[in-house]
């Protein structure tokens, strides 16, 4: 079965420019996650979707970050405007069910963002 697909894999932009990342989860997975991974650190959750609903976005910097998951399948994460500190890897993950906590999360390869 196909894994979690993310695009682009790499993105280089100038600061203050907008950028968007796309994620297609594993077919049939109801829950989708976006994580931020800074260099040398573990991933940190930005937002979690149960179908179309964002059930945990407490860590999403809403002044510049936005996300959507239309139709409860693929998702887009946007940054506008990007800042130098946004340079990181953005990981998408999906799981069959989010509730209960024990579900395995399957990760995509990530998008490496460099802001110049």
């Amino acid at each position: 079965e196909a894994g979690v697909v993310q695009s682009p894999r790499y993105k280089i932009i100038e600061k203050k420019q907008p950028v968007a990342f796309w994620c297609n989860p594993i077919s049939g997975h109801n829950t989708l996650y976006w994580y931020l991974q800074n260099l040398g650190q573990g991933p940190e959750l930005l937002i979690r979707y149960e179908n179309e609903e964002a059930v945990d976005d407490s860590q999403l910097p809403k002044d510049r970050f936005s996300a959507e998951r239309l139709k409860g399948v693929d998702s887009t994460l946007k940054i506008q405007p990007a800042e130098l500190g946004d340079s990181a890897v953005y990981l998408c993950a999906s799981s069959l069910f989010g509730q209960g906590g024990g579900d395995t999360q399957y990760f995509g390869p990530g998008t490496r963002l460099t802001v110049l």
Partner: protein, 113 residues
């Protein structure tokens, strides 16, 4: 709140030697525990997880981990490592009533020939 501490940032080891990667966690509620591996330029892959039952959990690629509730630890072990095990390893917890993974900072396993 929950937190995860991986006690070693880097672990160098020779091929075919045993290895232990240490993980401690802090939580006021019950948690599930996970170990993920990340190879260069790839996403994270689940090695193993503890939800309940036997405290010794066996995972993929010959890895195993033991949950110790009294010491709030979940150390990862492998009796004999290979060059291909060179990667970043992440310990993570999630409160048993949510799906939010909280990761440690990672341990780089460097397997030398």
């Amino acid at each position: 709140a929950q937190s995860v501490t991986q006690l070693d940032s880097q672990v160098p080891v020779f091929e075919e030697a045993p290895v232990e990667l240490r993980c401690n966690y802090s939580s006021s509620v019950s948690v599930y525990l996970f170990w993920y591996v990340q190879y260069p330029n790839q996403g994270l892959q689940l090695l193993l997880k503890y939800l309940s039952g036997s405290t010794l959990v066996k995972g993929i690629n010959g890895f195993e981990a033991e949950f110790n509730k009294s010491q709030t630890s979940f150390h990862l072990r492998k009796p004999s490592v290979h060059i291909s095990d060179t990667a970043e390893y992440f310990c993570a917890v999630t409160p048993s009533n949510t799906g939010k993974l909280i990761f440690g900072q990672g341990t780089t396993l460097q397997v030398k020939p």
